[in-house]
Symmetry: C2
Subunit: 343 residues, 2 copies
Amino acid sequence: MPVRVAVDAMGGDHAPGVVVEGVLDAIAEAGDRLTVLLVGREAEVRAELDRIGGAEGEHLRVVDAPQAIEMGESPTVALKAKPQSSIHLGIGAVKQGRADAFASAGNTGAVMAAALFGLGRLPGVLRPALPGYLPTPTGTCVLLDVGANVEVRPEHLVQFAQMGAVFGAAFLGKDDVSVGLVNVGEEPGKGTDTVKEAHHTLRELGERGALRFVGNVEGRDILQHGADVCVCDGFVGNVVLKLAESVATILPAMVKTEIGRQDLDGPSAQTVGGVLKGMLAPFDYQAFGGVPMLGIDGTVVIGHGGSSARACKQMVLSTAGLVEQNLTARIARALHDSSEATS
Amino acid sequence: MPVRVAVDAMGGDHAPGVVVEGVLDAIAEAGDRLTVLLVGREAEVRAELDRIGGAEGEHLRVVDAPQAIEMGESPTVALKAKPQSSIHLGIGAVKQGRADAFASAGNTGAVMAAALFGLGRLPGVLRPALPGYLPTPTGTCVLLDVGANVEVRPEHLVQFAQMGAVFGAAFLGKDDVSVGLVNVGEEPGKGTDTVKEAHHTLRELGERGALRFVGNVEGRDILQHGADVCVCDGFVGNVVLKLAESVATILPAMVKTEIGRQDLDGPSAQTVGGVLKGMLAPFDYQAFGGVPMLGIDGTVVIGHGGSSARACKQMVLSTAGLVEQNLTARIARALHDSSEATS
């Protein structure tokens, strides 16, 4: 049985062109593993298919969605005003069982709101969370929440840790991921009351073997892979993720300035540029293409607004991979097991 | 009149050796601008002076403090248990008017607590704040708070902005520093309730011309110099500062790995290393040596625990510079003017 992914053809800064292209490439690569419902303004989507030389068939079907939510629109306003948007109808396809997952590089807030409203939360989930990932010298670490929840209670952080551990295991391909709590010091008594209480519960879960909790991770530890999964509220996570991502933007400028200051010759500058390029390769967000909303009763993946065709292709393939790995069911089980143990 | 700086001879991982050395170097450089009270265990301090070949004189006097607070000690416990510590007596010298400022590379929490208790806050200051600084491609930006206040109210953030603007002007040598609020999006409606309310007040102050408020700065903007002064709570600031500082630690490892992967020859590797070294120069925390606690009724500068002799020298010179610039009086005036305007 192929995985059926509904894809938001209108999502992202360069939609629908790059989305259609990415979907065709994903289908070509996945072969019989994948079918796609391409949800968007039918005429526009078909025009793009014609342009690229793709066509509907066994692995691809176009679903008309007469409305599209723009990147800058207010999610709450747009969701009411545009019930026939590609985001609504894509989520609807998952709800009705016509698709196994939904993927969009569109308006993150609108996708999150539509998913929450249309699919709801998994049993026991207090708040869905959005993970991000960061390259480290020894691999990749997962950070969550990165923006869905700017204000949290301790029990939210604890659930982020539990959901993050399941996602981290799937994403990093590791069984026994380490989980750390982002904090201002190593000692358990550090941080806000919320973080201290979360620390206490996470340590108990760790002692019970429900989680490999490694304690607090400080700002300096995050990029040095202090933990496979770093847990924080959505405010801290959003700032940290964007700051870390910006390093990949700033480095080339700093290298260029320094090359000029040292007045290096062409071949030397080229050597330096080559090393820089190799170093920055892991920062390429296009490699994974998107992140799942954790805690939703269904698989919903959100891609980068600036996604290219390659990023869209990876988003679709990653989404299919998460379905194959039963991510949602595994999160549900992890939360259920943990609540059984505490009750 | 020379500036009289009381220096914690026992503060830091390598005290008293590097502190004594740094103080002697600072005096040699500052000439008649500076006198130092070196506060610490007299026998140990004198032994270091002998070792280095320094001596008491017109510009240097040793003050005996029989106790020393260690780096790892709990500030609250240590402050009660060790009333004769170098931190207490150094702050005491400022309080009694025998010194114009106190500088320590020791236990940050203990220095902050002793300063708050011994010198108190400037009139109207709700919470003192600790700034940090980060190199950007176009200069340096100031970030505050970086750890003194992990939980804040909107009015605290507003005062951090006001105090940060005064410090930023002195530190960056600019008249009209821009001030931004660290947030998860550009729009005023983003973030927590606390941040939203602070944004509102800061915008009003900006419209009145009391502050050059440039709005929200996102994580990606901080290192790209989105503002000269970036304001946030001490939790976010601490994580951001340590994360950004860690880049300087991680880059050499990443460069080395990439040089190995590309199997570069010796001269090429050397070229790359040279560029890296030049790029990392601005990340050198020893260049300034320490940061002042803003909002304290007196000048108190905190240095890095790992300070070298050069960092200690810079800490002492920077402290004298802040006294010469009347930082404390300027902060008091800025807060007073602002409260006059609102009342």
